[in-house]
């Protein structure tokens, strides 16, 4: 599995909670969120574009930092 690092402009638990709920709806994804660092690590076989689109659903800025 590839681990991708994304930077998402989350400012509070509501934001990270929204990201959590979005990712929970996607199958075949395991993830970790670091709210203070605004980072989301996603382990998935899906392509980066799909994951980025999914994260952007929460209406926040998403930046891809590459694989970890």
């Amino acid at each position: 599995m590839t681990k991708h690092e994304f930077e998402v402009a989350m400012t509070c638990e509501g934001c990270s909670g929204a990201v959590t709920r979005i990712l929970n709806k996607v199958e075949g994804v395991t993830f970790e969120i670091d709210l203070p660092k605004k980072l989301v690590w996603i382990e998935s076989e899906k392509d980066v574009e799909f994951l980025q689109k999914t994260l952007e659903k929460c209406g926040k800025e998403v930046k891809y930092n590459g694989t970890k």
Binding site: C12, G14, C15, A18, R21, C58, G59, K60
Partner: protein, 80 residues
């Protein structure tokens, strides 16, 4: 020629917002959906009041759009 459109208003319960930034992203994202004329999100009341064109949106589709963003949404009341 002006087309007369009957607008609907719906109030949706929104769970999971904790700060102003959540409110803002919902207002921006839902406000830019086709058929949405006006949106007001209240953090205190945990709801969103949306004025929309019923030929392009329905309370269900709006609620879905909010759920898609990662918030819990419930239909509470509709008035025309």
């Amino acid at each position: 020629m002006t087309q007369r459109v009957n607008l609907c208003s719906v109030s949706l319960g929104v769970q999971g917002m904790t700060c102003g930034s959540c409110v803002q992203s919902i207002e921006q994202r839902i406000g830019s959906q086709p058929g949405v004329r006006q949106i007001k999100v209240s953090l205190e009341q945990k709801n969103a009041t949306i004025i929309f064109d019923p030929s392009q949106q329905s309370p269900e589709s709006l609620s879905e759009a909010i759920e898609d963003m990662g918030f819990e949404s419930s239909l509470s009341e509709t008035s025309t």
